[in-house]
Symmetry: C2
Subunit: 443 residues, 2 copies
């Protein structure tokens, strides 16, 4: 009987061995995709792409078993050779080839030159050829940054006593009401795709006190802007026993500090590839919604048209204001008008026209919406009634409150938007692996 014991002996060298000193001037083996071939006549430089980065191998005619003319870009190969120090090569190393095994061969040449440092092609082309364009080193690095943000979110919250949950994406009704829902038939019953895990994460606060989820959400919004996706990844948390809605903002600030530190340490390679400036999040200003409008109106000489709404241009100016006045890329805008928030938002007891809620703006773009929720059953029922809404389909959600819930609140962060602003992209599609918008359902 054969047994798997969890180990596997690879006959290739690790990246650490290749860029380290122990194997210098000795035989080494590497595998990778042929990223580019520069044929100089007597020698050719074959750059291999691996998950860790690019590695230079050198082809000298008389030494190898395969003719240089047989080698093509996008082949995957295993190369045996002698490891040399070479200042001009990436990581100061090159492998002088003795033997090549071809692992796979492409059927056609690449449709775009991915080996350029910056991929000079339209967003449309990038998205149409996503599996190819992401082979570009800069392009793929964006998604390592995105990974870091997700990882930081989870690891920080685990450390703060949160429990990870998985809530259903198929449901009978949406958390935000009837608009913007993708609808379909679920075994002959009407069903929708979840706009957010809002109801479920609240229900789970009664069980675990603090919960988070990182998963997809679906919005059938007919927006076709640079900031909207119809499916995106939401970083959600919800926490009970809060003293104030500001405790939620403190938790988000803690996450951002943890994330920026993770980027500087474990993801330093990608930060360098993308030449990112990591923003200072040691302290983030918080300003009331009405005050922010006033400040911007005065400084930029802009008339306040509607005191209960915030236009995208105003959002951008608030971002600009806090950058100029306080040097901060981030600003919490608090106390949003009640009309602009869902029924479950907790109104400010001091002025019920406003809520104990906030948005977090990053370089003038909303990346988070959060706040305290109503935890009292009767207050919640009253609010539903006041809004002329029906309780239908919310029975189990409401039952949760009927049977006791602590004061609580939470937030949702748009992962692609956070990544976009951090990297300085103009279009959120740049920071989504396979974006879904009104016109794009493939690849």
């Amino acid at each position: 009987m054969e047994f798997m014991d969890g180990t596997w002996k690879k006959e290739i060298n690790t990246w650490e061995e290749l860029v380290g000193n122990n194997l210098l001037n000795q035989e080494a083996v590497i595998e990778g995709a042929v990223h580019s071939i520069r044929n100089m006549g007597d020698v050719a430089f074959i750059i291999l792409r691996r998950r860790e980065g690019l590695f230079q191998t050198v082809y000298e005619n008389e030494m190898a078993n395969v003719s240089i003319h047989e080698l093509k870009e996008a082949m995957t190969i295993r190369v045996k050779g002698i490891l040399h120090e070479e200042e001009r090569a990436p990581h100061g190393r090159e492998l002088r080839i003795r033997h090549i095994d071809i692992l796979s061969t492409p059927a056609e040449p690449l449709p775009m030159a991915i080996d350029k440092w910056k991929l000079n092609t339209s967003l449309e082309a990038k998205l149409n050829y996503r599996p190819i364009s992401l082979r570009n080193i800069q392009e793929r690095s964006k998604f390592k940054i995105q990974e870091a943000l997700t990882k930081a979110f989870r690891d920080y919250l685990y450390g703060q006593g949160f429990t990870e949950i998985h809530t259903p994406k198929i449901g009978a009704r949406g958390a935000e009401g009837g608009a913007n829902l993708f609808k379909f038939s679920y075994f002959h019953k009407p069903a929708v795709l979840a706009q957010s895990p809002q109801f479920y994460k609240q229900m789970m606060v009664g069980v675990f006190d603090r919960v988070f989820e990182t998963g997809p959400v679906f919005r059938a919004e007919k927006h076709n802007t640079k900031r909207h996706l119809n499916e995106y990844t939401s970083l959600d948390f919800e926490m009970g026993y809060i003293d104030s809605f500001e405790e939620i903002m403190a938790m988000e600030t803690g996450f951002l500090q943890y994330a920026m530190n993770l980027l500087k340490t474990e993801y330093a390679k990608e930060v360098q590839i993308l030449k990112l400036d990591i923003p200072d999040v040691s302290k983030i200003p918080a300003v009331r919604f009405d005050v922010a409008k006033e400040l911007v109106s005065q400084k930029y000489n802009r008339k306040i048209r509607n005191p209960f709404d915030l236009e995208p241009e105003e959002e951008a100016l608030i971002g600009q204001y806090f950058k100029e006045e306080y040097g901060s890329d981030f600003v919490f805008v608090t106390h949003y008008p009640s009309k602009k928030r869902p029924f479950y938002a907790m109104d400010d007891p001091e002025d019920a026209r406003f809520t104990l809620s906030f948005d977090l703006l990053f370089k003038g773009l909303e990346i988070t919406t959060g706040g305290q929720r109503i935890h009292d059953y009767n207050m919640l029922v009253q609010k539903i009634e006041d809004r002329g809404m029906t309780q239908e389909g919310m029975e189990q959600y409401l039952d949760t409150f009927k049977h006791g819930m602590p004061p609580h609140g939470g937030l949702g962060i748009g992962l692609e938007r956070l990544t976009m602003q951090l990297i300085g992209e103009e279009n959120v599609r740049e920071t989504c692996l396979f974006p879904r918008d009104m016109n794009r359902l493939e690849p």
Copy 2:
């Protein structure tokens, strides 16, 4: 201007302080939900439920500001008192109450007694009252075990050089073909919910070499069994540059070893609450599909009806065989028949009726399907043609192979099934927070 600096001063004591020695015989403050009240006349024991566990507080008539008759189960309260050593209390501590702040009050009594150690109620009732039934300590512990498995999957794979990806759940077509797909209209275009991230994770192997995703998958299967859900969480990975499909099995074994160790250490509390036996995964037997059928047929005197199919009873018997003969709860069954695997499965070059693939059985139930995939464009196109399938809707997937892909393979693990078998549940709905089946769309 106010600033958030990522810290928040809580006026309550941490769990570590409460169960430690430094605060003994001193004033301490705790918050929690009233899990149960045992009124003995002169004193009452009020057990608080927090995310960390249960904590005993003692109500003595003359000392507190709130009458015992005002207190109810499912209230949330903040309690100030004196911390005492008390052997018979959980964690050897109790808080003698001086002052109570009521944070929230339920509108109605609980519909079930959640304070019993084992929740004695039907699965149906548990699911109908999910936000309440999960407040039971045993019930919620199941989902901490599930969290541990997800966390272990990610952390182990990060350590093995994998990149986390987020792939779309809305698409133009499914990876496994037309059956079992939830269909809907996406801005007037026909769309489906993803059955698996299969195509996307393969495409991303060409970019990151090794990728994983933990996310929902959707199957419109008309099964109503104890083992099937119509939406579940899939732990997926895909890895390039494999030497053999057995390397994938080695990676899964490594994950399981990491997970079992994490359970024994960081999740020891929940392991103890559920009285789990952590299975030995130091080595997992691997047996060919045809050999496994033969072994079971001989030992249990069972006729082989169809040499190219495995019935659920046969699966269970294979599990039993390897438990009896090798003491293993797990067994890899390899070389599944080609007819039973999707078109992208790599056939065994030595016998094309079988594939370089495997299932992992855990106590006789399939929890993983994996294997090597076809990486050569022409071979893939041929296989599609041989099966009489169309390339329509697979253009970008196929383009990926046209432009070069390394040898690769991967797997998908059903998170709820893995949790179910580990805990020893009979029904997979027990280990899904909010299960979706043919009859259940709520809560």
